[in-house]
């Protein structure tokens, strides 16, 4: 890894999609976010877990949202999980989804095939690598909140968890209200037919249901944990 790479990471790790993030994250520079994320991943992925990721060694996995507000390029080797600068890198596989879908995938709160069926998750590039990643991730059975608490302490873990909840909640509100407004305007100005508008509204409702499930999944995972905060 070249020296000063974290500065490049700061340019490429775009977390601006996180709406109203916790003050801690907002004040944290991009390079520090990347360093923190790498450090956190190195703690969560203990040697035995890292060993299970080795079939993915040297593969470049790009996670992104549809509008590329979030782009995160990662690779694995024997030493850990690394966040890479995106410029000039061609990922082996791109896993694209809205923030709620990506969060749900990584936290194991939603089934990846279900997300694919309803077009909220798309895998392009080398499908074998993508499938391998999905299945290895599914086989790593750990509770992320517990891991965060173990490595960062309860207060920071709770704060990050609340940030995730907040992100999901805001994305849900934004998605639904903006999408519905867009459809209504499109119909008003004759850009989409009434039938298409109705079909889009149905899609938006489905997305809303999915996000509600995600929210409920997050809540299911934390009973009692945040009660004292």
């Amino acid at each position: 890894m070249p020296s000063g790479w974290h500065n490049e990471v700061a340019d490429t790790l775009k977390l601006k999609v996180l709406p109203q993030p916790d003050i801690f994250l907002r004040l944290m520079p991009g390079f520090a976010q990347a360093q923190t994320l790498e450090l956190l991943l190195s703690r969560i992925f203990t040697p035995d877990r890292l060993e299970r990721l080795q079939p993915l060694a040297d593969k470049r996995l790009l996670f992104c949202t549809p509008g590329r507000e979030l782009e995160l390029l990662m690779c694995v080797d024997g030493r850990g999980i690394h966040i890479l600068p995106i410029r000039g890198e061609v990922p082996d596989v791109t896993i694209r989804g809205d923030l709620a879908a990506l969060t749900a995938l990584c936290l194991g709160l939603e089934d990846s095939d279900t997300l694919f069926f309803c077009r909220r998750l798309l895998l392009t590039g080398d499908t074998s690598t993508g499938l391998l990643f999905k299945n290895i991730l599914a086989n790593l059975d750990f509770d992320l909140h517990d891991e965060l608490e173990q490595h960062l302490g309860k207060r920071v873990a709770d704060m990050l968890w609340r940030t995730a909840e907040q992100a999901v909640s805001v994305v849900e509100r934004l998605d639904q209200s903006l999408a519905s407004t867009g459809v209504a305007l499109g119909e008003r100005f004759g850009l989409v037919s009434a039938e298409r508008a109705q079909s889009l509204e149905t899609e938006i409702s489905k997305m809303h249901e999915m996000q509600a499930k995600l929210q409920s999944g997050l809540e299911r995972r934390r009973p009692g944990r945040l009660a004292s905060t």
């Binding site: 079939p55 194991g108 089934d111 095939d113 309803c118 077009r119 993508g130 391998l132 990643f133 599914a138």
Partner: protein, 338 residues
């Protein structure tokens, strides 16, 4: 349902240890799994069980009064049969409750080397008549057979009346519309088939590409489907692709929907079916937990009062939300094939 008839067993999928635990915890009577090699018909990258994972899974299930079946249901090749026979040996050694086999060489091997290990006939054997089942029972001592998903419920009733072999049927999940174990569609395009390689549409051949806001699905470079923006997507299999035939474009073989037999449960009970199988070893523990929970509630409700049983709207919605194509079908049980 005849008084005294046993409640059918819920046979649940597990592609990994977390999914196995989810299935057991959600009320699955039995979990079926495969080892991480070519010996089973869900041989996808990163899926299935290592020896240690299977051992832990079997212990976990047995401690909670659930059973574990091991699928060794692809056809061995001639130059090296050892991946298949060693899988049977391992299933026996780890204390699996049954092996699910399709190939007669493997049935024979299991009978000779592990006579105490219960043998089930896989759907991959494609045995859809009572004479075939009686033959397998007589020659190889099978206790149960999984019916191909192309037989009607009437046929299943008829088979049950003429054999002592237990009947297991698929009731939920991905629907194979071909005569299973005899479908070579995938092989024509990719060189791999579920029968020999354990994979239909192997990942190495699949590409998803975006073209003018549509999602195109290609198999070894051959365009097999195109989804409009927002249109629910489906698995990249040839049988559920869209093609041009007789001047029309569309799903020539079958629509890409998932099987859901919840509404037929009283009839399935009455048909004497012993095992209700849920497809989905390739899916996550979240899927397994959700689907098994729904089916557990439905089976218990039907067993308690089959006459009053009705598939609840929330069960149907819950399954549809996770279905291929976002919708369901009763498959060949009542519908006519295209």
């Amino acid at each position: 349902m005849n008084p005294g008839r046993e409640k059918p067993e819920l046979v649940c999928p597990a592609g990994n240890l977390p999914a196995l635990k989810a299935a057991v915890d959600a009320g699955g009577d039995t979990v079926y799994l495969g080892f991480r090699n070519v010996s089973n018909a869900r041989n996808f990258e990163g899926l299935n069980f290592s020896r240690e994972e299977a051992k832990e899974g079997i212990l976990y299930a047995h401690a909670r009064d659930s059973r574990v079946f091991v699928a060794v249901n692809t056809s061995p090749n001639s130059h090296d049969i050892s991946p298949w026979t060693s899988s049977i040996d391992m299933a026996s050694e780890l204390g699996a409750d049954a092996v699910i086999l399709a190939d007669i060489a493997l049935l024979d091997y299991a009978k000779k080397h592990h006579p105490g290990l219960r043998r089930h006939l896989s759907v991959q054997a494609s045995a859809g008549n009572y004479e075939a089942l009686n033959f397998y029972a007589r020659e190889f001592g099978i206790k149960r057979a999984v019916m191909p998903r192309i037989v009607t419920l009437d046929t299943i009733c008829d088979i049950h009346a003429k054999t002592c072999v237990e009947i297991e049927i698929f009731v939920s999940g991905g629907l194979c519309v071909m005569a299973e174990g005899r479908c070579w569609l995938s092989s024509y395009v990719t060189g791999d088939s579920p029968n020999m390689n354990g994979v239909c549409s192997p990942a190495h051949a699949v590409r998803f590409e975006e073209e003018n806001d549509s999602l195109e699905v290609k198999l070894d470079g051959v365009l097999i489907n195109r989804f409009a923006p927002g249109e629910p997507a489906a698995y990249p299999t040839l049988c559920k692709g869209r093609f041009e035939a007789c001047g029309m474009q569309g799903h020539v073989m079958e629509d890409p929907y998932s099987l859901n037999a919840l509404e037929m449960l009283p009839d399935i009970f009455a048909a004497g079916v012993r095992g209700l199988k849920i497809e989905g070893r390739q899916r996550s523990k979240h899927y397994v937990r959700t689907v098994v929970s729904i089916w557990r509630a439905a089976v218990d409700a039907c067993a308690a009062d089959p006459d009053a049983y009705q598939a609840r709207a929330e069960w149907m919605t819950g399954l549809d939300a996770m279905s291929e194509g976002g919708a369901h079908t009763t498959g060949a049980y009542v519908d006519e094939w295209r």
